[in-house]
């Protein structure tokens, strides 16, 4: 009798132990499946980004295996139907979404061995940027089987987090035959163009900054980050990044930098007011600049001197820009001016390229005025000096004025006025002084900012330097839907 009782008790103990161990194993399997589901969802997002990138590059295979459905609402379950997609989804008034059901990911092991997914792309009625490039919403769901019996975890907290579907898929609103874990993520993608202006200031050597000025950023293409395309301190952004390949002798004198500082070499001095990150090392290629190569007869030549060779000059078209070579110095002394006019029809059809073999210099009350629709590029072989409001960029857009310094020299922007444009002069020592500001971006050998002058990096230079060129798509937001609206969990 005693033996029978003992054996019974022992059997019960074994049974309970096995049951609990089984539950633990089941919970472990469900946890692993939940992790695998995210892998499936993320791989689906990757495929969506790849499709958009290929589409931006004009690839004919961008939408292979994708389908398109004309609808303003996205599916909550695995989509079906539709026709073969040939282009990116369209916005309102005829909204559509493209979807892809990638091949299931096969795994080997004791647990789940297959992860499926599906992904949709639509515009979500997000606006285009000022250059006409569309933002997109990507929503992806990964599903992984949860091996084992349809049994909830032995810990309620696991169920709150992972919400394993045992008999019913709450997202699709349908019954299921085998347990599964599913995770849904949604990302918003913004178009990014290829550009040399990935940061505000790129230097080969030191930066020294003093006075009460700041380095920060704005976005002339986004009305929420600029006012009429111009810098607005109330809409200041913090992407005025600075990078220097050799920081020897660099000193910020505790001036404010609203962005990240990256350097190679000794630590930059007095960086207490850098509002972003400070990191080292910094490595980036800085391509050398060179003079344009124009064929004989394709350009107009002028002789430089103490006075400008012309007072008014017209642009060419975007396809055939006016090419102007100035042999010698280009001087605009006090009391004189040069006007660049835009005679062509269209809002993006007035282009002109200057090549100054000597110095570029405006001084005193002399100035250059560039009409609002003009896009001008200046190649300068000598020193560049401009002061005050001596370069009036009527468009207010830095993308429309490009100075390219060739070889070595100095570039000086001074006075109380503002300069809006870019400078690509990796061999030049640049000085910004006075009380005005420079908005745009620059590449230089060294940089000195003093006298209260500020520098405002225009983020639009990096996003879209060409109205039709999208180099890539990047995350603007990333969100995982772990909500349960029926229980009031809305996030």
């Amino acid at each position: 009798m005693v033996a029978l009782l003992t054996i019974t008790i022992m059997t019960l103990i074994c049974a309970v132990s096995l049951h609990v161990a089984s539950q633990n194993t089941n919970a472990g399997m469900q946890t692993a499946s939940w992790q695998q589901a995210l892998t499936g969802a993320e791989s689906a997002v990757d495929q969506a980004i790849n499709a958009l990138n290929l589409d931006a590059q004009g690839s004919s295979s961008a939408w292979t295996n994708w389908k398109t459905v004309t609808s303003s609402t996205l599916p909550t379950a695995k989509p079906s139907g539709g026709s073969a997609a040939t282009a990116a989804p369209s916005p309102s008034p005829s909204p559509s979404y493209n979807y892809l059901i990638p091949s299931a990911l096969s795994l080997q092991g004791e647990g789940n061995n297959s992860v499926s997914s599906w992904v949709t792309i639509d515009t979500a009625d997000l606006p285009k940027d000022n250059n006409g490039n569309q933002w997109y919403r990507v929503r992806a769901t990964g599903v992984a089987g949860a091996p084992g019996p349809a049994r909830v975890s032995n810990n309620r907290l696991d169920n709150d987090l992972r919400k394993i579907a045992l008999l019913f898929d709450r997202k699709a609103g349908a019954a299921i035959t085998t347990p599964q874990a599913s995770r849904t993520i949604e990302v918003v993608l913004q178009p990014i163009a290829n550009s040399i202006w990935t940061r505000g200031i790129t230097l080969k050597n030191w930066i020294v900054m003093s006075g009460g000025g700041v380095i920060d950023s704005f976005d002339s293409s986004n009305p929420l980050k600029s006012t009429n395309g111009l810098y607005d301190v109330t809409k200041r952004q913090s992407h005025g990044d600075v990078g220097t390949l050799d920081s020897t002798s660099s000193d910020l004198h505790n001036t404010y930098l609203y962005g990240n500082l990256a350097y190679s070499g000794p630590a930059v001095k007095n960086t207490a007011n850098v509002q972003g990150t400070i990191s080292t090392p910094f490595n980036t290629p800085i391509p050398a600049t060179s003079d344009p190569s124009w064929s004989s007869g394709s350009y107009t030549s002028y002789s430089g001197g103490n006075n400008p060779p012309f007072t008014t000059i017209a642009t060419g078209t975007k396809q055939h820009p006016a090419l102007v070579k100035i042999n010698g110095d280009f001087n605009v002394p006090g009391g004189q001016s040069v006007s660049i006019t835009a005679p062509n029809t269209g809002t993006d059809n007035d282009y002109i390229v200057f090549w100054v073999t000597g110095k570029y210099n405006t001084s005193g009350s002399g100035y250059v005025t560039q009409a609002a629709l003009v896009n001008a590029t200046w190649y300068v072989d000598g020193n560049i000096t401009t002061s005050g409001n001596s370069y009036n960029n009527a468009s207010g857009l830095a993308a429309n004025v490009s100075f390219v310094g060739v070889g070595t020299g100095t570039a000086t922007v001074s006075g109380s006025g503002d300069f809006i444009g870019t400078l690509n002069a990796p061999g030049y020592n640049t000085t910004i002084s006075g009380t005005g500001f420079w908005s745009g971006a620059l590449i230089s050998n060294t940089l000195t900012i003093s006298g209260g002058a500020s520098f405002h990096y225009d983020e639009a230079l990096n996003k879209n330097t060409d109205t039709t060129l999208v180099g890539n798509y990047a995350f603007a937001s990333w969100f995982e839907d772990n909500s349960d609206p029926s229980r009031g969990i809305t996030y």
Binding site: L161, K225, S477, F479, T490
Partner: protein
């Protein structure tokens, strides 16, 4: 003369009884000892399983919320995250829009605040005003506020649950780490 018939009495001999009682005792003792050992083993495995379950749950919670957080702050070793509300009051998913700064938002900018901290020996997750212990037996929690615009680093140490071990005894604790990239951080938009 009466001859008595041989009486047959079936029984164990003293020797047999002694041997059987001895063997039985040994077997029962072995079974009981095995049972106790099994229980100890079960308790150890259960403790390990629960700890691992707690550790995975904590890491999964923090990683998920950090990845989708718009902003992060750390004060007094409390990690506070702000995540957007993805659904409206009727339980319908909402479309993304831009806020006044040009960043992506959901539900007109409505958000939910989630915080993580250690409370006694529990590790708690607080959503709004609701606090839930998502793990127990926690001995320490540390958040490294290095760069809250890009990553969050945390470490959580769990005390051992099964401590009935001969020398040198159980480990002091199990520490798990997470280093999560803030994919949705507003500061980078």
């Amino acid at each position: 003369m009466k001859i008595f018939g041989k009486r047959t009495r079936l029984a164990f001999t003293l020797v047999e009884m002694t041997l059987s009682l001895g063997c039985g005792s040994v077997i029962l003792a072995a079974v009981v000892t095995a049972g106790v050992a099994l229980q100890r083993s079960f308790a150890a495995v259960e403790g390990y399983s629960m700890s691992e379950s707690d550790q995975l749950r904590v890491l999964d919670y923090i990683a998920m919320d950090c990845r989708r957080a718009r902003s992060v702050s750390v004060a007094n070793n409390v990690l506070t995250l702000v995540v957007p509300n993805y659904y409206d009051a009727n339980g319908n998913p909402v479309a993304p829009t831009f806020n006044s700064s040009g960043a992506i938002q959901y539900s007109g900018g409505a958000t939910t605040t989630i915080s993580y901290s250690k409370s006694g020996s529990n590790f708690v997750r607080t959503v709004g005003s609701t606090t839930t212990a998502i793990a127990s037996n926690v001995s320490s929690f540390t958040v490294t506020p290095q760069d809250l615009t890009s990553t969050v680093s945390c470490s959580i140490t769990f005390s051992p649950r099964f401590v009935y071990l001969p020398g040198p005894g159980p480990v002091a604790g199990t520490t798990v780490y997470c280093n999560t990239f803030l994919r949705n951080a507003l500061a980078r938009q």
